[in-house]
Symmetry: D2
Subunit: 315 residues, 4 copies
Amino acid sequence: MTTTGHELDLIKQHLPAWLETSRQRAGHGMVASYIPELSKAPKEALGITLIGADGECVTAGDCGIPFTMQSISKVFTLILALMDNGEDAVFDKVGMEPTGDNFNSMLKLELVQPGIPFNPLINAGAIVISSLIQGASPAEKSARALEFFRRLAGNSDLDYDLDVYRSEAATANLNRSMGYFLKDNGVLVGDVEEVLEVYFRHCSISVTCADLARMGLVLAMGGVDPVSGERLIPRRYVQIAKTFMITCGMYNASGEFAIGVGLPAKSGVSGGILTMVPGKYGIGVVGPALGSKGNSIAGVHLLETLSHHMDWSLF
Amino acid sequence: MTTTGHELDLIKQHLPAWLETSRQRAGHGMVASYIPELSKAPKEALGITLIGADGECVTAGDCGIPFTMQSISKVFTLILALMDNGEDAVFDKVGMEPTGDNFNSMLKLELVQPGIPFNPLINAGAIVISSLIQGASPAEKSARALEFFRRLAGNSDLDYDLDVYRSEAATANLNRSMGYFLKDNGVLVGDVEEVLEVYFRHCSISVTCADLARMGLVLAMGGVDPVSGERLIPRRYVQIAKTFMITCGMYNASGEFAIGVGLPAKSGVSGGILTMVPGKYGIGVVGPALGSKGNSIAGVHLLETLSHHMDWSLF
Amino acid sequence: MTTTGHELDLIKQHLPAWLETSRQRAGHGMVASYIPELSKAPKEALGITLIGADGECVTAGDCGIPFTMQSISKVFTLILALMDNGEDAVFDKVGMEPTGDNFNSMLKLELVQPGIPFNPLINAGAIVISSLIQGASPAEKSARALEFFRRLAGNSDLDYDLDVYRSEAATANLNRSMGYFLKDNGVLVGDVEEVLEVYFRHCSISVTCADLARMGLVLAMGGVDPVSGERLIPRRYVQIAKTFMITCGMYNASGEFAIGVGLPAKSGVSGGILTMVPGKYGIGVVGPALGSKGNSIAGVHLLETLSHHMDWSLF
Amino acid sequence: MTTTGHELDLIKQHLPAWLETSRQRAGHGMVASYIPELSKAPKEALGITLIGADGECVTAGDCGIPFTMQSISKVFTLILALMDNGEDAVFDKVGMEPTGDNFNSMLKLELVQPGIPFNPLINAGAIVISSLIQGASPAEKSARALEFFRRLAGNSDLDYDLDVYRSEAATANLNRSMGYFLKDNGVLVGDVEEVLEVYFRHCSISVTCADLARMGLVLAMGGVDPVSGERLIPRRYVQIAKTFMITCGMYNASGEFAIGVGLPAKSGVSGGILTMVPGKYGIGVVGPALGSKGNSIAGVHLLETLSHHMDWSLF
């Protein structure tokens, strides 16, 4: 039996209890309500799926409930933009630094010249990234992104949650504000509403923990799908994505997560978290109750427990 | 001969020389270019018109050139919004404090709760004020504003400069950004593009120094048109407008202007300045070359000269 | 009987009732506690003294209680620094603009180049002003300031409240922080602790409403003591001081006070307010319970009432 | 021959050429001058020392020149404070998040409640950390820190550069400003000057590349000195330190360094960089010419070259 096999056995044995302990944290959190459709999510839910390189799968809790990717999608649109445009073109438009500000803050755009977003995982940066996806129209760009996400998840049924999409498009005035600010700065080129359509669409792709785990596994294996053996992402772009997931993946609690868990991760306001153990596992978590920084409060606790017991920190 | 008569004689005598001295300052300024159409204005131009309560008029320099009101219009849309809604409703939506920031800054909207614009004369505040003008449609609101401005100027020919309007509407992404930010904050109600249409329209009303002087004279006389004797604005709203003109009328050089000139005034990026000597004169100035804070560099110098020699400061 | 005489009769008649109405506002405020010694002030107290150009005096309420000048002193150290150094030297070191920030904010020192305080009435600016008072030692500078204040108040007994001075010096780490920041910026020259000693001393000068009213009267009369007929301050410096009192005198509620009262004024955290009706009266108010912006909550209400009924706004 | 042996051979072969290529970058940088004594460093210098777990050493360039640790010391005072106080006590006083601001910025202290420094590696945080080192007096605290640094470097001769210490203490008004701000916030307890004495002392410890490499090697080996086999630091505190070095170690170019190099590192304004390859090497670099973000411009380039060729990124 391999080391990983041993580890998986250990995880299988303890995971249900750990999950129930973490689930109790949900009571201290709040389901996101700024996108009205998101507020319908079950507050007490907590689920996890972990997939190994050989395809073996461990699950616990409410891992089957569907939720939208929200900010988790930003990791993969970043990768797609890198594949479409190369490093230099992308980093002309977005920086590489964590900000310490809220994910939807515009302060640094006004305060720090030359007014490009600090990194591709805050909202301002992700909107610019959406504008860099190749395609003749918003529909074509969105179709290319969806197709890319489907291949990474190995799930050709991946699709939009149109209720969430419409709810998001109807209420996202702060994102509109950011879009026009970036256009004024000359960072965002093209029609703001068209760029936002692409952005709202990839945020509203509906997944389960298993989908996130599969997508995470591709990153964990350096860009190669371990099932098919096919390289889906150049290794350098996986490296870039994983680095951003460590420094900026968990909003302005990224530093705390790096100290407590030590794995590349990205969260979304729907309560999802995608993370991975490099070389070993892809992991998808969902827990809709969010802490004060916008991350799944029970999900973060569960990952801290796992990382602590399995000694998974990269550091 | 009245004191005012004496003073007017003195002004008539010296004004041409003072104006030529001030005109030399224009070389140190820059014509606004962020609205492309504005950049066509003659950089070296400087003109002034002063109208007394008895209708007597003193002019000098290029007082006949037309220019758009731009931010000067904000004084009068504020007054119209007060007349339409009353003090309480207006000050629920905009504050009363100078900001020290650039006229188009969004910092304080994000940093200071509850996220209402600090005052009605910065862009964010003026956009909210535009949303408060009564009318069933943007066209009706704009028509009401134009009609009000015509009455104040005693000039039924006052109209839009449509080239400037279109240029402004096409390039004003920062104002769009502000509009959506304010909508997200719940401060701005209604369709952002419709509100901005009203805003861009009143900014693009074309005037001469004489028009500004007549409008200023109505304020100088506490809201009564001295020619017709008709009260056009309730006195309290004139008081409010004049107070804002002292504390916030000259962008973030308002404090310096209050120290150097000491009169209520409002400038626009087209190089216009409307000011007044309470009880005595309305004054319109135009000088398209702007200083670093966005005010007519030669125009401010000319008003400093006049205020100094005539001892006009309110303080 | 003069107009002023009439007005004074009216004031005498109504003032006690107006004061009692305003006093009820004190319950909504808080006595300053960040300087421990200040927290001992009687929360419900409210007093006012008004002195006319002929020396006639109207008082009401608790006008006899002593309190320290705190920020009110900044108006007069500004004037002394102007008399000692001239306009140019002073305005090389401090700006002329209101900030919209809290009186003890350091944000703009870091954000806006060249890092000089925005105006002489916020803490950072007043500390720089204290450094500009002439004198071979902190003791000599303080003695000159005290002597100047005594002459303006016509009260040779004016002196420090040493308990407040010590309490302030012991707890004013934020002012120390500002001092060192300004020294690092090259704006403040000399030893920070020595400059702060001067600053804390003039803030802790103990006065009554009558002292403030007399000092305000000198400003109201353009710098001439109406009792002795002696010019104590050059008129231009009075003009500068009065302008700052309008634009920045009431912390970041200066705009609101200008709209509601319309008179040059300066408040202190001890609950004092010095104001004036130009050409007519000097006014001193005390009411230790402060509103959220740091001004006497009952005192501001009383001045609004007076200004409204007497039509005192400059605008 | 081990893999590491192979790798070391490769490094030995190429390092001189890589170093000379990187050295050419120095011309685009500037030697720090805000501490006068630092400005004497040789701008074109570049040196590196790399030490393997078996004590084998590779050097190139000007690795023998002495320089002061400056901000590099903050990694080790953090560790000492953790050993003295435990995680909870330390993270009550400093946060875990990168800021995106300059290392000496005070903005977030004012803007973000509760006003504790965002992380222990920016100046504000490091000053608080200095206050947490146990000891009855500044001298005792400093002696304990120096002793700890000597053990980690395996160099009992490690000592202060007193010229730099005095230069730093004499000019560090911005650090004083920060100290008093933190004291006002209640974050820093004790006498500000005494805390700063400790801080300036550990910043002015003089080292060579070999010292940094040995200290880095202890971190690379999880806290155990590979030479003596002795555990010098609990593994958890090494993990915490390495995590901060990834997220905040290179000032506000930490994100860029993580993308380009991918190793835990800490730089100082003297031009030093301490980094490591976990499990393999400790690395010390010196190159006094700094880029715009305050890191050794040639040193960063050399580490990018090494990491790229040796595939050292953790991600």
